[in-house]
């Protein structure tokens, strides 16, 4: 047995020796000299790990960024669709575990929780975001921009777009004045309309569900402020009431709360097929992009509660072992390009998330006009801008993420 084992080990060494010499492409650039970055990026392929669950977003990425990268910079975009951002993070972690550098990931569309993980593990390429030429258009003074889930961005990631939690209803089934406008009103509505409401199960792949629960946490505790920094005592004080709220509505939910939709799309499908009366979205165009994709009826409209609708910015980050850092930097900069920023919010382009840049910082009159025109064309399926603004709050500190998700599984889903 021992002999076989040593044979096995020997063989694996041979294999690794053979494949170790595959690539050692080194392209040098100086981050302070943008031209050198662009030159180094020429001819590279950028591996962008991005949530692939939405066909229309996939198409937008290929059609707009893929094309622009090729035409303007001679860079090939390899969009790697992942089921959840966690998969990209895992790839980087596994590479670290295996001691692999260069790795496979150049750029990740990242969310706060995963940013927190990679930042803590020291696996991110440092000190680049504010050196992008287009970063001048970003309002870095805004705490919603320089904090991601309450965690300082520290120049480790660069914004792409913005999003805000909203609900969707069908204007053919309900009138705006009948809509619940707070978690308290929602509870009344749910009790009066048993079986007609459900929400996305909080957890990986269901971050909108997590947001929905966090919004309730804000309302129950009477404010968003206490949650921007982590404090175990605050959590212990309020979490029982939070689970109380969700357990009280549970018997009146779709299928009596015995199960919940796994992700946004499953909820859209329930909503579209008239199984429930509300869906959830993060898009600034509300239901617009979903109507375009044929996922929900054309009469679908977005709305918000009066308060505690969590909104934030989306970012991209570069792993420390990224094989094509220069190309990743060029792409991150391209994402902030005013022309493409204007394109991303239009419902017909299928992306539908908000600006990552601050329109007021755009000096070029042509670009500015373009952005302002786009903002006017959000369509009737979107939540009115003033409603969005007045209900906007930031996300919690990252430590609450897993507390909310695991606590919900334990106390609400499993009912222990």
């Amino acid at each position: 047995m021992k002999r076989y084992l040593s044979l096995l080990i020997l063989f694996s060494f041979l294999l690794s020796a053979c494949s170790g010499v595959v690539q050692s492409r080194s392209t040098t650039f100086d981050l302070n000299d943008w031209d050198s970055v662009v030159n180094a990026a020429k001819g590279q392929t950028v591996n962008w790990y991005i949530w692939g669950g939405s066909e229309s977003i996939n198409r937008f990425v290929d059609d707009f960024y893929g094309k622009a990268l090729k035409e303007r910079y001679d860079i090939t975009l390899n969009r790697v669709p992942v089921a959840d951002t966690v998969d990209a993070v895992n790839q980087v972690l596994s590479e670290k575990e295996a001691g692999k550098d260069p790795g496979a990931v150049d750029l990740i569309w990242i969310n706060g929780e995963n940013f927190f993980t990679l930042k803590q593990a020291n696996l991110l390429y440092p000190d680049w975001a504010r050196k992008l030429p287009n970063s001048a258009l970003v309002n870095w003074e805004n705490p919603a921009v320089n904090l991601d889930f309450g965690n300082p961005v520290d120049n480790l990631e660069s914004p792409w777009s913005s999003a805000q939690f909203q609900l969707i209803y069908d204007s053919a089934r309900m009138q705006p004045e009948d809509l619940p406008r707070s978690y308290t009103e929602l509870k009344e509505w749910v009790v009066q309309n048993p079986g007609r409401f459900t929400y996305i199960a909080p957890g990986p792949g269901g971050f909108q569900g997590t947001r929905f629960v966090k919004g309730a946490l804000y309302e129950i505790s009477g404010g968003a402020e206490p949650w921007s920094a982590f404090d175990q005592a605050t959590w212990d004080q309020w979490s029982p009431q939070l689970w109380g709220y969700f357990n009280e509505i549970k018997p009146y939910l779709w299928r009596q709360g015995e199960t919940y939709p796994k992700d946004e799309n499953e909820l859209h499908s329930l909503f579209a097929n008239n199984e429930v009366d509300f869906s959830i979205t993060q898009a600034i165009v509300g239901a617009g992009a979903l109507i375009e994709q044929g996922l929900v009826p054309e009469t679908a409209r977005a709305f918000v509660f009066d308060q505690y609708m969590i909104g934030d910015f989306n970012y991209v980050a570069i792993p420390a072992n990224a094989p094509n850092k220069a190309a990743a930097l060029v792409l991150a900069n391209l994402l902030l390009d005013p022309e493409l920023q204007a394109a991303q919010i239009l419902p017909e382009n299928g992306f539908g998330l908000g600006f990552g840049i601050d329109v007021n910082r755009v000096t070029d009159p042509e670009d500015k006009a373009l952005l302002e025109a786009a903002a006017q064309k959000l369509g009737q399926a979107a939540t009115p801008a003033e409603d969005l603004a007045s209900s906007l709050v930031g996300d919690t500190a990252p430590q609450y993420q897993s507390l909310v998700e695991e606590g919900w599984r334990q106390y609400v889903l499993q009912g222990q």
Partner: protein
């Protein structure tokens, strides 16, 4: 009479169960915004298909699926041929042990295999490559080609080879003119199983490919979570077409060896 009736019922059930998915996919694939309680789509459209086929990823997925499945089944056949011949024709000490060595991987979940191989392949640079995924697919395919082929060789008559040798044929001639021809039907069935097992593999591809090797099961899974029934149905149709064609092409051999092991599929 009642026998007749039950025969018809069983026939109906059998064909019904097999035809329903195809009909269902076909209807959904040509619909758009088709919501409950509409019984038939309000609008018929080929746009889900057009979208699917114009997506670079679909063709890439089809190509990668086909190449990996083809490579994995050919490799499996080549590697298992000598082993199966020995297992089928020879009695030797340790035959049981060898048989067991091939049996165990068939019951160990791909999940466990994939998770372990993931780190190993990362270290030797095979993770995320087509080669790595193909090699990983060998773990489930190889045992099945070995078992199928060894049952063929168990019924194989070596005397044909002896006669050919006596008539002055060289080993190469014997292999191509005698051996290969005699076991050809079995070879086809074994290859078919290997192809199907590799074709439908999701977990190993996910864990070894790390998202960079994009086979059709990966696309289908992500489409299922995408929630658009029309796209799911169109992709499902595309996904079952190659197996249907392959099975149709090999149907006459399947009749002869139909009961061979076809699990993990």
């Amino acid at each position: 009479m009642s026998q007749r009736l039950s025969t018809y019922t069983l026939q109906l059930l059998l064909y019904g169960v097999l035809a329903t998915p195809l009909v269902l996919f076909a209807v959904y694939a040509f619909s758009e915004r088709w919501f409950f309680p509409a019984l038939v789509p309000q609008e018929w459209t080929a746009s889900p298909f057009a979208r699917l086929l114009s997506d670079r990823r679909t063709l890439q997925g089809l190509g990668e699926s086909l190449s990996i499945a083809a490579a994995a089944s050919l490799l499996s056949l080549a590697i298992s041929f000598p082993a199966a011949r020995t297992l089928g024709l020879r009695a030797f000490r340790g035959r049981q042990a060898a048989w067991l060595a091939f049996f165990v991987p068939t019951v160990v979940p791909p999940l466990a295999i994939g998770m372990g191989l993931n780190i190993f392949f990362l270290q030797i640079g095979l993770a995320g490559s087509m080669l790595g995924v193909t090699l990983a697919h060998l773990v489930p395919t190889l045992p099945y080609t070995i078992f199928t082929l060894s049952s063929v060789f168990a019924r194989y008559d070596e005397n044909y080879e002896h006669q050919a040798l006596a008539l002055g044929a060289n080993p190469v001639q014997i292999f191509f003119r005698i051996t290969l021809r005699l076991v050809f039907p079995g070879l086809v069935v074994a290859g078919l199983f290997a192809f199907l097992i590799s074709w439908s593999q999701y977990l190993l591809t996910l864990l070894i490919g790390g998202g960079r090797v994009l086979t059709l099961p990966m696309l289908l899974f992500s489409s299922v979570s995408g929630g658009n029934p029309a796209s799911i149905a169109a992709l499902s149709l595309l996904f079952v077409t190659p197996p249907v064609l392959v099975i149709a092409a090999t149907a006459r051999y399947l009749g002869q060896h139909g009961a061979a092991v076809q699990e993990q599929y």
